[in-house]
């Protein structure tokens, strides 16, 4: 067994290892977007536009870092672009009779389209400077595959550090308390003299900044380049993940890792030679191949949404303002 490991082949164990590695490598966008959306939803508003924000952040981060030669400048630019899109969402929603869900969908399409338009010159430029040295979590192992799989990016570490910080801040700071009171009962917060729209503007902006940073991770740390159709649905899945995480930052981390890891199932199964699952039903034979495996993250989203919703019970942990009818 030892010699087997030394050769760098782990056999079937490489599937879970690849999933863990993948989770550590690609979960950062889920994590950033879901933390951002948690902040926004805690203020009593839903920003579905974060898919657009994520893609705009990805494009802006890549464009700025390839022009300036600085990865940090790209990351900052992505954050600023995300914040601006958040402000736009909050500004539109503050108008009378405007529905945040509808604005979010519009901004999602707007963001993806605008990124595609503005990003055209950047589709095939030279490589951008590396963002930061990766941090190795596999130092304890002599196995190359293990070490290669456990490289994590600094931005992921920062994202993980944000989790306890946000959780603590929501509970133990004035801003946290005000944010939650606005999201739980706007009338009460208004009676205490807080500006509902002001608080929501800041919360949506902060959510946008985080989503923009998640976007920068996509192009600067993961893909190493900008292209159209990057990360379709990642932002939307991250928004769904907030519900799954019950609006708790720590749960966002677990859920982001789960969703990130699920994306590795298809390639990992292929890498161990499992290209197809045949199921014989007697009268017909099902052949499940790559396309079915690639559906797994989306099936996971769907399954989670069904599993966690109920026709009669109200969801635990949901900010009360989100449960009020806001369609008229």
């Amino acid at each position: 067994m030892t010699s087997f490991l030394a050769e760098g082949s782990l056999g079937f164990w490489s599937v879970p290892l690849a999933m863990v590695g993948q989770a550590l490598r690609v979960s950062a966008p889920y994590l950033y977007v879901s933390l951002g959306e948690t902040l926004t939803e805690k203020s009593g508003r839903v920003n579905l536009g974060l898919q657009g924000t994520l893609i705009m952040g990805a494009m802006a981060g890549y464009a700025v870092s390839s022009r300036s030669g600085s990865a940090l400048a790209g990351v900052l630019a992505a954050g600023v672009v995300g914040g601006l899109l958040g402000i736009l969402h909050a500004f539109l929603c503050a108008r009378p009779k405007v529905n945040d869900i509808a604005v979010g969908i519009a901004l999602m399409i707007f963001g993806v389209g605008l990124a595609s338009f503005l990003g055209r010159p950047y589709i095939k430029p030279e490589r951008v400077p590396a963002m930061s040295p990766d941090i190795s979590l596999g130092f304890w192992s002599a196995n190359e595959t293990v070490r290669a799989n456990l490289q994590v990016n600094l931005m992921f570490v920062v994202g993980v550090a944000l989790v306890p910080l946000i959780a603590w801040g929501l509970k133990n700071t004035r801003w946290g308390l005000i944010l939650r009171s606005v999201g739980e009962n706007a009338d009460t917060a208004r009676a205490m003299g807080y500006s509902i729209n002001g608080v929501r503007l800041l919360a949506t902006m902060a959510g946008g900044v985080l989503a923009g940073l998640g976007g920068a991770f996509l192009t600067l740390a993961m893909q190493g380049g900008w292209k159209d159709g990057l990360a379709p649905g990642t932002g939307l899945m991250a928004v769904a993940l907030v519900i799954f995480a019950r609006w708790k930052p720590l749960n966002c981390l677990w859920a982001a890792l789960l969703f990130g890891g699920a994306g590795a199932i298809a390639p990992a199964l292929q890498s161990v030679g499992l290209n197809e699952v045949k199921i014989n039903l007697g009268f017909t034979q099902l052949r499940w191949g790559r396309y079915v495996f690639e559906m797994i993250p989306y099936l996971l989203t769907l399954g989670i949404m069904i599993f966690t919703s109920s026709g009669s019970r109200q969801m635990a942990g949901i900010p009360d303002e989100l449960t009020r009818a806001r369609w008229l």
Binding site: R174, L177, N185, A191
Partner: protein
């Protein structure tokens, strides 16, 4: 600022001098002067629309009075917004809770303070809160999320919050309306104790005589925005207070055909129902309504009337008992409604029985769009026929609308009411249930709606009129039943009705008279 007030125990008194407030042409308060002496529990009584809430909101800074002065202690004060009142140590407890349910008691209290520190030291805050809680008569677990508290606990927390904010003058707006009588007594006993210690001056808006008699020191009564009387509670009887509340100017105007009452149409047999939180809302209701008769249910709002309407309309299940129409069990299914011609005119019809964005014609057809001639083969709608019927109804019931296609929510309140009344009366209604049918309407619309109800009666319909407006009940009803705490407590033919006796029953002080009545007949 509130520190200064706290140091200057005891609680100050409060006085209003000739407060006047108008909304457009409506005079909501017509020169109200009242005096709440320091360290007392003062009750503010009055019917719906008497101006109680408006007066308190003027003092709290929600409204700015047109004229008049407010004196706190011995200083004249100006309140332009609720924060000004708070800074002066005046606080208010609302009918509905203003707590954040998903936060803990401690978080709610700290949040209410306004000057929350940037970083909250929960250990210290909780120690402070526990120490504070010991200085009050309340015991509320501070780590519990508010949503886990019972209604009585929540109301205590609201009052606790006012003490925590060091308010010395409290307005309570029907503080017991969501509480059980036991919880209400407990909360009011604690408040009373605080006033006796001169820590609080309390003005309590209420329409419950029981609470006034048991807890208040003094009472001021408003009627239609005017001062109607004041006095020490120990010098007054509920009868005198209800006389102040109701006044004596009742007139009967609508013309009615004198007709012997017909067959029994609507029969309630031991009807029981529960409210949303599972408490008894209706208890053992027995009632007969005959053809060609209007039975008026009088009562102060919140004594189960809206629950009764919901049960009759099929919106709330009866927990026991039955409703019979034409001697058959009635469960308010669409088939039964159509067979027995039981129609309903609930209060706020735009909200309760219309689809706001659908057209006037469509709304008028809600009862019969699926029957001929409005529907072909029971599936395809005949828009032409629906519009023709609507045009006919609009003309007959004088509904003012730009067209049959106008969304009904664009109509004025009176015209929505007429449109719904047209729908409910047009198909030969046999049992009509009308709840506060003229609420919020102007004089002309009111007269017309009432005339239509009388006409339906004259045509032989059995009408059950549920109204908080005693004048309306007196004007329309052939028989009057008083509802109190979900029970029918008194019944009398309208011709022999005495407004004083009815008022006392409405206030739950009628037992003696019931016996008296029985002896007399």
């Amino acid at each position: 600022m509130s520190d200064a007030i706290a140091a200057a125990n005891p609680a100050p008194g409060l006085e209003t001098i000739s407060i006047r407030k108008t909304f457009g042409s409506l005079v909501a308060l017509d020169g109200i002067s009242m005096k709440v002496r320091p360290g007392t529990l003062h009750a503010l009584l009055g019917g719906n629309g008497a101006g109680k809430s408006t007066l308190v909101k003027c003092i709290m800074g929600y409204y700015r009075p047109d004229s008049g002065d407010i004196i706190l202690g011995n200083k004249q004060i100006k309140t332009y917004k609720p924060r000004d009142a708070q800074a002066l140590g005046i606080g208010m407890v609302y009918q509905h809770f203003t707590l954040v349910p998903n936060m803990t008691v401690a978080e709610n209290l700290v949040l209410s303070r306004g000057n929350v520190p940037m970083r909250i030291d929960w250990k210290k805050e909780k120690a402070d809160l526990r120490a504070f809680m010991r200085t009050t008569p309340f015991f509320i677990p501070i780590d519990s999320p508010v949503r886990m508290l019972a209604a009585g606990q929540k109301q205590k927390l609201e009052i606790c919050k006012q003490l925590y904010l060091r308010n010395r003058v409290l307005f309570l707006d029907e503080p017991t309306s969501v509480l059980t009588p036991q919880e209400a007594d407990e909360v009011l006993t604690m408040i009373k104790a605080l006033t006796l210690k001169k820590e609080l001056t309390v003005l309590m808006i209420t329409h419950k005589f029981r609470e006034v008699m048991k807890f208040a020191d003094e009472v001021t009564v408003l009627r239609n925005g005017k001062f109607a009387g004041t006095g020490l509670v120990k010098d007054l009887t509920p009868t005198q207070m209800s006389a102040m509340m109701i006044g004596s100017e009742t007139t009967r105007t609508a013309a009615r055909g004198a007709k012997p009452r017909g067959e029994l149409l609507l029969h309630l047999d031991g009807l029981h129902a529960l409210d949303d939180i599972g408490l008894k809302a209706l208890e053992d209701l027995h009632l007969n309504v005959h053809a060609g008769e209007i039975v008026g249910i009088a009562g102060v709002s919140g004594n189960g009337q809206n629950k009764l309407v919901e049960v009759l309309a099929g919106q709330r299940p009866a927990s026991a008992g039955r409703i019979n129409v034409h001697g058959e069990r009635f469960g308010a299914t669409r088939a039964e409604i159509r067979r027995h011609k039981v129609n309903c005119l609930p209060e706020e019809p735009l909200k309760n029985t219309c689809v706001g964005q659908m057209s006037v014609a469509e709304n008028m057809a809600l009862r019969n769009f699926d029957a001929r001639p409005h529907s072909r083969l029971g599936f395809f709608l005949n828009a032409g026929a629906i519009k023709r019927s609507a045009r006919d109804l609009i003309a007959r019931y004088r509904v003012k609308t730009p067209s049959t296609d106008t969304p009904i929510r664009d109509l004025s309140g009176g015209n929505v009411q007429r449109a719904v009344l047209a729908r409910e009366l047009s198909d030969g209604v046999e049992v009509l249930i009308a709840a506060n049918p003229c609420f919020g309407l102007d004089f002309a619309a009111t007269a017309e709606i009432r005339a239509q109800i009388i006409e339906a009666r004259n045509r032989g319909a059995a009408v059950l009129l549920i109204s908080e407006d005693l004048d309306e009940v007196f004007e329309l009803a052939d028989r009057i039943v008083v509802m109190f705490h979900g029970k029918f407590v008194y019944e009398t033919p309208a011709a022999e009705a005495d407004i004083g006796i009815i008022g006392r029953h409405m206030a739950g002080h009628g037992e003696a008279d019931v016996k008296h009545e029985v002896v007399k007949t």
